[in-house]
């Protein structure tokens, strides 16, 4: 028996691994998923976006009052603030910037969370800007995610109507030298992205009427599989422009980013498939691809724990002899 195991253990492990995943995928029973505080951080930030946006307008109006009362105030600063307030009043439900920065290798983990975030933003009536990070391969993935979410509003409860490109959302596509592009967004978004992914002029699009630069963005969500991707947004989005930043990432790199959550530099963190399933549960996405895959995660993890125990017992027997 032991000899058979030693000769064929690789094939046996592969077969059991495959079986665990397959059985998990055909399971239809509902799995209860409790959202962690990290996941709830992003959910709350998006859920409360209209209130946050209204508070920002009130704050700007207070600043304007003070400036108007100050004789020494710079007229240019007053004009800039007046323009910003009038822009902010166009998008009352807030503006979300979704950065998609992963390649097909991480699609299984990160696409469900990107889709859930898009659907949540659309349901809340937020305007959605989507750009792509360092990897050009993100572009076709992002394009599919956003068009699926815009077309199918019935997969969340309550549903939302069809969302139109250029009006409700805008997909900029890929640009080389992402860091410089992100910084340029602080001056003018239409200068950083003169055209959208399909080559249309962005400045003439209705969505851009209320959006000029980074100050008009209320929340940044970056979904990244690359180490350094979220840091870049923490540097640009949070540190430079003072906007709340949340991140979704593969489970491999998730543990590196918890310190940013603790320091408040990230307002939310979705880690791997588990984070995606938690977010789907909070938003009420149905069908929920990540939640469906959690049964398979459960079985395969149980199998992995069993293997560790068996391996240890076998090691004990071997060393005892």
């Amino acid at each position: 028996m032991l000899k058979f195991w030693r000769n064929n253990y690789r094939v046996i492990i592969y077969l059991f691994t495959f079986a665990s995943v397959w059985v998990g995928l055909v399971m239809t029973a509902k799995l209860r998923i409790n959202a962690s505080a990290a996941t709830k951080g992003l959910y709350d930030a998006l859920e409360n976006l209209p209130e946050t946006h209204a508070a920002m307008i009130r704050e700007d109006e207070e600043k304007l009052k003070k400036l108007l009362g100050d004789e020494k105030a710079d007229p240019k600063a007053i004009t800039a603030l007046e323009e910003r307030i009038s822009r902010s009043k166009i998008n009352t439900n807030g503006v979300v910037l979704l950065n998609i920065n992963y390649n097909p290798g991480s699609e299984a983990e990160l696409t469900p969370m990107s889709q859930a975030v898009c659907r949540h933003a659309f349901r809340r009536g937020a305007k959605l800007l989507i750009n792509v990070g360092y990897d050009v391969m993100s572009q076709p993935l992002a394009q599919k995610i956003i068009s699926d979410a815009a077309l199918d509003g019935r997969s969340v409860d309550p549903p939302y109507p069809f969302r139109e490109s250029g009006v409700d959302y805008l997909f900029f596509g890929f640009r080389p030298n992402a860091f410089q592009v992100y910084l340029q967004m602080g001056e003018s978004i239409t200068a950083a992205y003169e055209t959208d992914y399909s080559g249309r002029d962005t400045s003439s699009m209705p969505i851009m009427r209320g959006i000029k630069d980074f100050s008009d963005i209320d929340l940044v969500v970056t979904v990244s599989s690359f180490v350094g991707g979220p840091e870049m947004w923490i540097n640009v989005g949070k540190t430079k422009f003072g906007k709340p930043v949340a991140s979704g990432m593969t489970a491999v790199s998730a543990s590196d980013y918890y310190p940013y959550l603790q320091s408040g530099q990230l307002c939310g963190l979705l880690s791997g498939l588990r984070g995606a399933a938690e977010y789907e549960a909070l938003v009420g996405v149905n069908p929920a691809p990540a939640t469906r895959r959690m049964w398979a995660q459960l079985y395969i993890h149980t199998f992995a724990i069993l293997l560790i125990i068996i391996g240890n017992i076998e090691y004990l027997f071997r060393t005892k002899k």
């Binding site: 690789r10 592969y14 691994t17 495959f18 995943v21 397959w22 998990g24 995928l25 055909v26 007046e82 323009e83 390649n103 290798g105 991480s106 699609e107 299984a108 983990e109 050009v136 391969m137 572009q139 596509g173 890929f174 640009r175 080389p176 860091f179 410089q180 910084l183 003169e194 055209t195 080559g199 400045s203 699009m205 851009m208 009427r209 840091e231 923490i234 540097n235 640009v236 949070k238 540190t239 430079k240 593969t250 489970a251 491999v252 998730a254 543990s255 590196d256 603790q262 320091s263 530099q265 880690s271 791997g272 498939l273 588990r274 469906r292 895959r293 398979a296 995660q297 395969i300 993890h301």
Partner: protein, 338 residues
């Protein structure tokens, strides 16, 4: 989720066979597994080149240069006529009918602000000096002006004031501003720097590639360092200054206190473990080092567990694809075909 068209079906089958090809390396390296690896690398690289051209070189270099050349040779009168016509239409749409005898002074109109000529000029600049604007096209000029004025808050309620200001604007208007000539020079220098990278293929001239390399690294370090220092050092250090005893309305919050204590002890002992300037021979030093190692092991354990979870997620994704899109999708495609 399955294939809708025959082309989709072919795509799904190719993806499924390539997936199985990759997994065949679990048994042993075969021609198929090597082929799938080569296809993956080739397709990724090929796509990268195409996407970089269409999203970087074309909109940022090729198209603006073509527009620059075209706008340099455009007839000045054609452009000013198109602008005048478009502005008249925009002003007509917003003009308030003034009764006879009223002056066309805009600040007399209720709810309006004084006509700001400087802002009007700035909006005209932003509409007419866009790098992508084709000045020969009357329609493009009209669309650009309309969108620029629609997003500005400028009062256009008096056509006389608007047209007067426009005539003033034309006195100094050029189809291509002087700054654009410098911009073209900057583009040429940038392209030249980019091309210098290619000199690495020619050992005799490879030293030239050091210039763009130095430029790129310099820009990256210059732009990134201050922000990284602030967010990855200053703010992280600031976040570790936390109260050792957390109180809430009911007294001491023991859980939060334990968490904060654990964080401070962990930070200090791990830092101490990596401090190699002197020998750690006394009991206190050895104890602190052991605690530091324990924290590191817990951290590595969490990372390793997350890694397994991530790899398993990828496997689940692939098996999900094989089950839903390949097997079930193909079955349903042919079922509906009947």
């Amino acid at each position: 989720m399955g294939p809708d068209t025959f082309i989709d079906l072919i795509g799904v089958w190719i993806a499924a066979l390539l997936t199985l090809g990759v997994y065949s390396s679990l048994i042993k390296d075969t021609f198929i597994s090597k082929l799938t690896e080569a296809v993956f690398v080739g397709v990724s690289f090929g796509m990268s080149i195409v996407f970089t051209y269409y999203n970087g070189i074309k909109p940022k270099i090729e198209e603006p240069l073509v527009r620059y050349y075209q706008n340099l040779h455009v007839d000045y009168a054609t452009v000013t006529n198109a602008v005048t016509e478009s502005m008249a239409k925009i002003a007509d749409a917003e003009t308030v009918k003034l009764s006879e005898g009223d002056s066309a002074v805009v600040d007399n109109i209720p709810g309006s602000t004084v006509f700001d000529t400087n802002r009007f000029f700035a909006v005209l600049d932003s509409a007419l000096y866009k790098q992508t604007l084709k000045l020969q096209s009357t329609n493009d000029v009209a669309v650009s002006l309309q969108s620029a004025f629609a997003s500005s808050e400028i009062n256009l309620k008096s056509k006389d004031a608007v047209m007067g200001a426009l005539n003033e604007y034309f006195k100094s208007y050029k189809t291509v501003p002087t700054s654009r000539h410098f911009w073209v020079l900057y583009i040429f220098i940038s392209v030249l720097l980019g091309l210098m990278f290619i000199t690495r293929f020619f050992p005799k001239h490879a030293w030239l590639s050091r210039f763009p390399m130095a430029y790129t690294i310099g820009i990256g370090v210059g732009m990134g360092t201050p922000l990284s220092f602030q967010s990855q050092i200053m703010q992280q250090v600031q976040a570790s200054f936390i109260p050792m005893l957390v109180r809430n309305s009911g007294g001491i919050d023991w859980l939060a206190t334990f968490g904060n204590l654990s964080l401070v002890i962990g930070t200090l002992t791990v830092l101490y473990y990596f401090f190699f300037s002197f020998k750690k021979e006394d009991a206190a030093s050895r104890g602190a080092t052991k605690i530091g190692i324990a924290y590191l092991m817990i951290g590595f354990g969490a990372s390793f567990a997350f890694t397994i979870m991530a790899r398993v997620s990828l496997l689940i994704g692939r098996i999900n694809f094989l089950q839903d899109e390949w097997i079930q999708g193909t079955y349903e495609f042919f079922k509906y075909l009947k």
